[in-house]
């Protein structure tokens, strides 16, 4: 294995490793723009120049490979390569490169959405000059729409071509290209084929400067005002890792979070803009009991008491409906609480989309079907015929929160029921047919675990405060269980539910928030750190 020396640090590396990647892995910062770990190396920005002993000019560290050299040619008798990232030559070169990159830059940080997470800003501050010697007029161009969700500010663009390579290599759609050359160069899309694929939002994330902007977020807020919460996307069964950015009780944006076992560096636009769906829904925030054709608000104690009375009266003849949209803990609690049969509502499917890079959008648009089936092993496929056979008249439904049209079978089931409890966060058609509505939490308010279609359990974390009288879904079920059975074990925290779940479901025995961390835990035994 070659021995590399970067500044004062000696590092053993695999033959063929690049200087930039080795430095990053060892905590040595080398500034860079065009290099992105998911994309082909082009070495065009020149920001990562370092000095390699024995080479006449500075080298781009992203494209300089370390290999074994002949023993006679080793530097100081032992190093295969000696790299300097901090000497005067490199420091001066960085200043020069930044001065070039900023020639036509408008320096409009006060109105730029990237400010605060901009590499041009950060590197200028750290490595750049405070002044420019450029006295001529700057090149000024107006903004252009590249697609319906992406705007390009050409003045801020440094032409690193990350976005162009993204469309060529990751989405495979190739809408973007580098137009013209020299002074007139710019990133463009053909008029007849704009940037409108389902991964388009990622180009705004990978843009190291404020050139590519998502119209959804532009001029909405400043990044330092937002709280960043790592969580998991809930819009399909892949379970992309995300960061949710919110302020008080509003979400402003979602960005993908790196996880090589799930989504790599990216996420799709269905998940990215999915949070808007929950902004204007008719929320249910108060327990309600049907009286005639309308609902009347009640206190929790009364609503739970009424529910439990009816469940007791039904004896064992109760059906529970689990939900692939809810967490493992909620579904598990429903299994504990319902002394009868379990099943679920009809599945809602979307289109399965596969990208050449391996990125996938699953046709199952519910986040936790795998987990639901794992933690409720009693789930029957054909709930309807069991309901008929056993003449069940009481049903407790965990609502998906998706407005769906019921087929004739479900309509007839619901019409046969004497008593329908719906635990939900919004007034769906299902909720409207309920006798009791118990207000649970919306997707971005929940905490617990969900299991993706690859068998990875991931930590779903809340970004928004609980609204009104709503309570965590597992907690509502706990209240009902406690009222049903005086001897029931009491859980006061979702982690206790998780522990119990691990005892009952062997596959989940290692699942805890501590073990899950940011990257989740694979049930197939390939646990990541």
């Amino acid at each position: 294995m070659p021995l590399l020396k970067i500044d004062d640090k000696e590092i053993q590396v695999q033959s063929g490793a690049t200087v930039l990647e080795t430095a990053e892995a060892n905590g040595i910062e080398i500034p860079h723009y065009c290099y992105h770990p998911a994309l082909e190396v082009v070495g065009s920005c020149r920001m990562c120049l370092v000095q390699v002993e024995g080479m006449p000019k500075l080298q781009v560290s992203c494209n300089t490979f370390v290999g074994d050299v002949h023993p006679d040619r080793k530097v100081d008798g032992k190093y295969d390569m000696v790299v300097h990232t901090q000497n005067d030559l490199v420091v001066q070169e960085r200043k020069n490169i930044l001065e070039f990159l900023l020639l036509n830059h408008p320096l409009d940080c006060p109105v730029c959405d990237q400010a605060g997470e901009c590499y041009l800003q950060d590197y200028s501050f750290k490595f750049g000059n405070a002044h420019s010697r450029f006295e001529e007029n700057k090149r000024v161009r107006s903004n252009e729409y590249l697609g319906s969700q992406i705007v390009i500010n050409h003045n801020r663009c440094i032409l690193c071509s990350r976005c162009v390579r993204f469309t060529q290599e990751i989405s495979g759609t190739s809408e973007l290209f580098v137009e013209a050359r020299g002074y007139n160069t710019k990133v463009a899309a053909l008029e007849e084929k704009p940037l409108d694929n389902l991964l388009a939002g990622n180009v705004a994330d990978i843009c190291p400067v404020g050139a590519l902007l998502s119209t959804d977020y532009i001029h909405k807020n400043r990044i330092w005002n937002l709280k960043k919460q790592s969580s998991v996307c809930q819009d399909c069964s892949v379970g992309c890792n995300v960061d949710v950015f919110s302020q008080t009780n509003q979400i402003f944006r979602l960005t993908p979070r790196e996880n090589h076992d799930v989504n790599g560096y990216f996420m799709c636009d269905i998940g990215r803009y999915g949070f808007h769906r929950f902004e204007e829904i008719e929320r249910v925030t108060q327990p309600m009991i049907r009286e005639g054709d309308s609902f009347v608000s009640f206190e929790w104690e009364e609503a739970i008491q009424e529910t439990v009375d009816r469940l007791k009266r039904a004896g064992g003849k109760v059906a529970g409906v689990t939900s692939p949209y809810h967490t493992n803990e909620t579904n598990f609690m429903l299994g504990l609480m319902v002394d009868g049969i379990l099943g679920n509502l009809s599945q809602i499917d979307g289109e399965e989309i596969n990208y050449p890079s391996g990125f996938r959008i699953s046709s199952d648009r519910s986040p936790n079907r795998n987990g639901m089936n794992d933690v409720c092993p009693g789930n029957v496929d054909d709930l309807i015929s069991d309901i008929d056979e056993q003449n069940i008249r009481t049903i407790y439904i965990l609502d998906d929160g998706v407005d769906r049209d019921f087929d004739e079978v479900w309509k007839s089931i619901l019409s046969k029921m004497d008593f329908v409890v719906v635990q939900t966060y919004r007034m769906t058609m299902l909720a409207q047919s309920a006798n009791i509505i118990l207000p649970g939490l919306a997707p971005f308010e929940r905490e617990g675990t969900i299991t993706n279609d690859g068998g990875r359990v991931q930590w779903l974390r809340p970004s928004l405060p609980i609204k009104g009288e709503s309570r965590a879904d597992w907690e509502i079920l706990m209240m009902a269980l406690k009222a049903l059975d005086n001897n029931a074990q009491i859980f006061t925290d979702v982690s206790q539910v998780m522990k119990k779940m691990g005892e009952k479901i062997p596959a989940y025995k290692d699942v805890s928030f501590f073990n899950l961390g940011d990257k989740g835990l694979s049930l197939n035994g390939i646990a990541s750190k």
Binding site: Q168, S174, E175, L176, F177, A180, L190, E192, K193
Partner: protein, 163 residues
């Protein structure tokens, strides 16, 4: 058909044998992009969207990648050009020897600016960088011919000879 599956009022090469011959010269299809663009321009006069789509289909890549290539080269035109293209050299020797007055002459005579085409599509005027014939400055390239050591008078006479 382009890669969107939409059919454009398509451009087709009139000489498919020549296209085949170009392809046979290269190890992979994409390498034929530039010669095909030149062939298309000689047939069509300029590179239209339908030309780009046709070539993208032929070389099996996205239209944007062909456009990337087209926009890089100034000798590939993306707009319709006149029947005759006047390219006046702007580099040092020609400039010192009166290239500017040749440009002014065309601008006055035909009322067009550099980059523009006369209303009757007779001429397109362009300022270009070094044509590599500094010893015989000023140089004007009309279509594929060099015309060297021009004065305003014999340039005027020369222009009249193009219909």
């Amino acid at each position: 058909m382009n890669s969107n599956g939409k059919s454009m009022q398509g451009f087709t090469f009139v000489d498919p044998e020549r296209v085949e011959q170009i392809f046979s010269q290269y190890p992979d299809k994409k390498s034929a992009t530039l010669p095909l663009l030149h062939l298309a321009q000689s047939q069509h006069g300029y590179i239209s969207n339908s030309v780009i789509n046709t070539i993208a289909d032929l070389v099996d890549c996205h239209p944007a990648i062909v456009m990337d290539c087209v926009s890089f080269y100034t000798m590939l035109y993306t707009k319709p050009q006149g029947r005759h293209i006047i390219q006046v050299c702007q580099t040092l020797s020609c400039s010192l020897n009166g290239a500017d007055s040749l440009v002014d002459h065309v601008m006055d005579k035909y009322e067009i600016k550099p980059g523009e085409t006369t209303a009757d599509d007779r001429f397109t005027l362009m300022k270009v960088e070094c044509l590599g014939s500094c010893g015989t400055a000023p140089v004007v390239q009309i279509n594929k011919e060099y015309h060297e050591g021009l004065s305003t008078q014999n340039f005027d006479k020369l222009l009249e000879s193009f219909e």
